[in-house]
Subunit: 350 residues, 4 copies
C-alpha cells in the first residue's frame, strides 16, 4: 500500500481525488490537508464522504508528513512553495495546479509573476499520460495538465504529430465546477439558464499550454519529452461556461491537407490511441454526460464537406480525466502500478 | 384592434406568441389553432395561461377564420399548405417555419422535397427586421427567420455588408426548447449535465440560411431585398445543445482586414445598429441569461490579439428574438404599428 | 406619475421591483439605492437591464430623495433604521424585509434583538393584500409579507377564517433565489442535483408570521386588521431548498371537520377568492413553473380519502407574488391606483 | 463468478444495475435483455458504457439463458409473466418492479388487475435488506422495494417497531429519473424551474407498500417476515417532482410518545442501524446530493419543540439504494456473498 496525502482536500479536485483513492486497491490516504479546515472530520467538509475511513483534516505540512506521494490540489502559486520541501523529504508530488506546467519565462508572462522554484522545472514532467507516458515512469514531480488543455491537446495531438496542422480555432464549454468551490459568479440563480463566453480568444491561460503541447507534438511526434523540441503552433481559444456542474466539451476547427478523407483521419486516430484505455475515439459525437464521473476522453473528428474545415470534438469530465483522475493515473505510472487502479472508464447515467 | 390567430398554439413558439400578444395593446387574439388540442381551454394545454382571456383551441382553419393576421407556428411543411388559402382570403401571414425562407431549389436541396407553393415565394419577404425593414412594410407574407440564423446573421451582417468577410466558423449553443415540445432526446434526466454538439459542421439546415443572409449583405449592403443580389458566403456552422431551456449564444470566428482595429469595428457596429431598439452592442460579453424573455440580441466583437482572428459573440432568447418576439415585431412592421408593441427589450433575472 | 425609489436595488428583490416598475404606466423610477454599488450604471449590476431608462445607482439616502414612494428591499434590520426618516420626510414606504411584520416582543424573540423603531409598528400595516386590502388603502408604511408566508397564509386563510383549523403541518420547497444574491451554499455545483431541508420544523422565522396570519384569520374572519385580535394557531413548518432559481410550493396537511367534503371546501375557496385577480384556485395541482414571473398564487385543496387528512397545495414565484410583485400591488392599493398596474398574472413557459 | 442477466437493461434501473455489476468482483454479466433493442451493442443504447466488456442486447429469454441470477428491471406486469419460467429453470430472480411486493388481493386493488402468478407470492421475500435480511438468505425470488418506500420505511421502521407510531404524514420529493426513460412530462424545458406534487395524498401506489412495511414492523419488531403478522398503519403520502435527475428526500411528520426526547430517539436509531453499512443516521440534515450515486440512505430525526411533532428526514439515490443498488445487495445476501460487493456507500460530489 502506498501512503498518499491530498493537500487542498477541501476543493472539488481534492474531493474527486479522495473518491478515486478510496477505491484504489494499492493506496491508503494518510493525510487530508487544508489550511481552512484543519481539525474537521471529513464529513463536515464533504457530506458525501461522511463516515468514510479517512483521517481528519490537518494543516498541509502535517497532512503530508507520513505520505510517500502527495497530491497538491491547491490554488496556483502554492505548489511552487510546498514542492521543494516535499521533494527534499523524499516524497513524490503530483501537482494539479499550473505551477510546473510552463517554462519559467512563459509562466511569468501568463501568470504575471516570477516562478518561485525554477530549479525544479527541469525535473518536472508534464503529466498528460497519453502523450508523455514513457518519461513519467519513475519521476518524482509531475505537473498535471489543465482541464481544457487535456481535452484539446488529446483531440488534436494525432493531427499535430502528423504534421498536418499548425493552427486551431477552439470554442469549448465547461461546467462551473471548473471555477472551484465558491468562485464568484457561480451562484445557482445566476448560472441556471445561462451560457456565456469568458476570457475570450487570446486571453485564457490554457491557450499557451495547448500551444505548447501541440507545438511539441509537431516537433517530436508520437511520444513527447516535456522540455524537448517545440515547433510553433497557434490556438485561438475561447472558453464558455455552461449551466452544468461537470464536463468539458471542446469544438476545434482545423484545416487538414486537402487530400485527406475521413478514412485517413480515422486511421490516424486509431493508430494513435488504440492501445489507450482512457481514450475513446468514435464516429458517434461525444457529449459530456457520457463521460460524467469517468476517467475518459471521447474524441470525434468530423469533416465539413462543404467548406473543407474539420471539426474535432472532445469531451471529458473536468474533475476526472481533466484533473483528479488524470492525477491518479499519473501516480500509477510514476510508481509502476497498473495504470487503471482506482479509475473508472465508464460513466454515471442518467 | 387587429384580430390575430396563432396556428400551432400548442408548441413553445405558440405559447410565446400568446405571451406577447396578450400584452400587445393593439392586438386581440381571436383564434388558437392546433390539430391535436381542438376544443381544449387554453389552461389545459398551458398552465401558465390558465384563466387568460383567450378563446379555446380549435382546428387551424376555424382558428384562423376571423383573423386579419395569422401566425403559423407549425412544423416545416405545414405553412406552404395553409398559406395560399389564408392569403386568398385576404389575411396576412407570418410564418415561423422554414417554408418561405429559401428559394425553391435551395429548399428542395436542404429540406429534401419540392416546395408546395413556389408561386408564393416571390411575394414572401424575409423577416429579419433589422436587415429587411423597408421591404417588410405593408407586405402580406413574411418568412420569420430561424433562431440560430438570427443570432449569427445579426452578429456578422455589419462585417459582411462592409465587404470585410466572406467566410465564418461558428460554434453555437442552444437551450433545448429550440427542439420543440416533447422532442426526442430532451428528457431532463438525459439533458441535465449534458452538453453536446449535433448536426455538426455542414449538416444543419440553418447553415444555408445564414449564408444566404450574409451573401446578400455582401452584395447589397445595409438594407436587404429578399430576392435581390447575393454574393458567395461560406459558413461552417456547428450547433450544440446546452442544458438549459432558453437561449442561444453564437461564437463566430472571422478574419477581418488586418488594418482594422477595435475602434474601427466598434464604429462599424455602432453605425449599423445605433437606431435599432432590439440590438444591444456592448464591450461586455453577452450571456443568454441577460436576454431571457427579452426581444433583444446582444452582440460583442472581440479581437484575438495573438492570432489576428476575431470572435464575434451574440446572444438572444431563441423563443423571443429568435422566434415569437421577432414574429410580432414583423407584424408591427407589416401593419405600420409602432415596432415595439407587445415586446419587452429587458429580461428576467434571476 | 408617481416617483419611486428602490433601495436595495442590487438584490434579487430589487431587480424584480425594477422589472415591474419599468412596466408600470403610472410609476417612474427616480432612484436606485445600494451601499455597495453607488455610482454604477444599472447595466453593470444587472445585465438584463443594460440600456434601460433608469438612473445610476446611488447611496440609499440620495436615491430616495426625490421619491414619493420608497421600496426597501434591504436585509433585515435596515428598514427600521431608514423608515423613520423617510416617513418624516412625507414619503410612503413599502418594506420587503421582516422589520415591520411582527409586534416588538415577537420580533425580539424570533430575530434576537430589540426593535429599533417600535413606535412605528402601530402605524405599519401588513401587506398581504388579499387578506388586508381595506386597511392598506391610504397607508404610509406597509410591511410586505415573507415569501413562504404568503404561500401558506393564502392557502389556509379560508379554512382558518371559517374556524375549521387551528393547526397545520407544512413542508415547502423554494428555489435558491430566496436566499439572496451570493448567499452561502448556493453555488451551482452544490445546488444542482440537490434537494434538502433546512431550518427544520420549529426553527424558521416564517413560522411565527404564518401563525400570526392564520391566528388573526381565526379570530377576525375574512378581512384582517394587522394589530387586531388573534386566536392561537400552531404551524410546524419545514422549508426545503430545491435546485431551481425561482418558485415556492407549499404542501400543508390539515384536519378539517369530518362532515366537509370536496364540494364544501371548493365552495369555501371560491367564495373567498373569486374576486381576487392574483389568486387562482383550481382542481389542477399547482406547479412552480406555471407561475414563474407571474404575480399569482395557485391553490389546490385535496382530500386524502383514506386517512381523512387534507393536503392544501399552493405555488407562487417567491420573487414576484412572494416579494416584489406583492410590493407593487401594495403600492397600488396604498395610492388608490388600479391594483394590477405593472403586474402580470401570467407566467413564462417554458 | 456468478453469471447474471439484466432484463430491462435499456431503462435507467437497468443501466444502474450494469454500473454496479461491472464493478462487482464476483459477478459476470452474460445477458442484456430488452424487447426493443435486441441486437444493439451496449454503446448504442448507453453511451456511458460504450466499449464496456458487455454482451450485445438480446431478447429477454435469450439474455437470461445462461444466467444463474436474473434481474428483472421491467415495467410492472412483466415480471409476473417471466418469473415462473425463470424459476422453473433453476434461476434466481430479483424483481425490481412491483409484481411481487404485495399480497394478491392488495395487488389487485392498487394495480387494478389480477395477479398473474399468485402461487409464487408465498415464495417471494421482500427485499428491504435492513429489515428482512435473515429471510432473504438463500431465497430464489426477491421483490425489490419501491424507491419512495425504501426511503420512508427505513426512516420510520425504528419508531414503528418500537410501537411508538401508527400514522405518518409524508411529503417526499424525487428526481425525474424515477419516472423512467422518456416518460411523459419529463422534457427538460418543462421540468427545469418546476417543482410540483403529483398523485397527491392517498393516490400513489407506494402508499400501501409503506403501510405494509410499517404495519409489519409494528407487529413483528426488528426483523420482519414478509408474510408474517401485520398491524394497522396509516400513511398519507404525497410525492413531488423536483427539477433534478436523481434523488429522493422524504419528510415524514409523526407524533411520538410525549416522554421521548432527542436522546431517546437517537439511541433507538443507533441501536437499530449501527451495524448497517448502508444506513447513515446523523444529526446533520440529509440532502440528495450527499448520496448521489451511493448505495446509502441518510436519516435524521428532528423534534419540533414548539408543537411536539417530529419530522424524520431521509435521503437516498432513487436509482441506487432505491432500486439497482438495493437489488445487487439482495443478490449478495441471497447468494451468501459479502453484502457490499459491487456497491459504493460514498457519493459523487459535486
Amino acid at each position: 500500500m502506498v501512503a498518499v496525502a491530498v493537500v487542498g482536500a477541501s476543493g472539488y479536485g481534492g474531493a474527486e481525488l479522495l473518491r478515486a483513492l478510496i477505491r484504489h486497491p494499492k493506496a491508503r490516504v494518510v493525510g487530508l490537508g487544508s489550511r481552512g479546515h484543519a481539525g474537521a472530520p471529513v464529513g463536515r467538509v464533504w457530506p458525501q464522504l461522511a463516515g468514510a475511513p479517512l483521517p481528519a483534516f490537518a494543516e498541509p505540512e502535517e497532512a503530508a508528513r507520513d505520505a510517500e506521494v502527495v497530491f497538491l490540489a491547491t490554488p496556483n502559486g502554492v505548489a511552487m512553495e510546498l514542492a521543494p520541501r516535499l521533494l527534499a523529504e523524499g516524497k513524490r508530488v503530483v501537482d494539479l495546479s499550473a505551477d510546473f506546467r510552463l517554462a519559467a519565462e512563459r509562466y511569468r508572462r501568463w501568470y504575471g509573476r516570477a516562478h518561485a522554484a525554477p530549479e525544479l522545472l527541469n525535473e518536472a514532467v508534464y503529466g498528460l499520460v497519453e502523450l508523455h507516458r514513457p518519461e513519467i515512469r519513475g519521476k518524482r514531480l509531475v505537473a498535471n495538465p489543465g482541464c481544457y488543455v487535456t481535452a484539446v491537446s488529446l483531440a488534436l495531438a494525432p493531427l499535430a504529430a502528423a504534421g498536418w496542422i499548425e493552427e486551431a480555432l477552439v470554442a469549448a464549454a465547461s461546467g462551473v465546477s471548473g471555477a472551484g468551490r465558491d468562485a464568484e459568479g457561480t451562484a445557482f440563480a445566476e448560472v441556471n439558464e445561462d451560457y456565456r463566453p469568458y476570457k475570450p480568444a487570446g486571453t485564457h491561460r490554457h491557450t499557451v499550454e495547448i500551444e505548447q503541447n501541440l507545438g511539441r507534438a509537431r516537433a517530436q511526434g508520437r511520444w513527447l519529452s516535456t522540455w524537448g523540441e517545440e515547433a510553433p503552433f497557434r490556438v485561438s481559444f475561447t472558453p464558455h461556461l455552461a449551466p452544468m456542474t461537470r464536463g468539458i466539451l471542446a469544438t476545434a476547427y482545423v484545416r487538414l491537407p486537402a487530400e485527406l478523407d475521413a478514412a485517413d483521419v480515422g486511421a490516424r486516430y486509431a493508430a494513435f490511441y488504440d492501445q489507450e484505455p482512457f481514450v475513446h475515439v468514435s464516429a458517434e459525437l461525444p457529449r459530456t454526460k457520457a463521460v460524467l464521473g469517468a476517467n475518459r476522453v471521447w474524441i470525434t473528428p468530423h469533416r465539413d464537406k462543404r467548406t473543407g474545415w474539420w471539426a474535432v470534438f472532445s469531451a471529458l469530465d473536468n474533475l476526472v480525466k481533466g484533473a483528479a483522475g488524470q492525477a491518479v493515473q499519473n501516480m500509477n505510472v510514476m510508481l509502476g502500478l497498473e495504470e487503471s487502479l482506482g479509475l473508472e472508464p465508464l460513466g454515471l447515467w442518467p
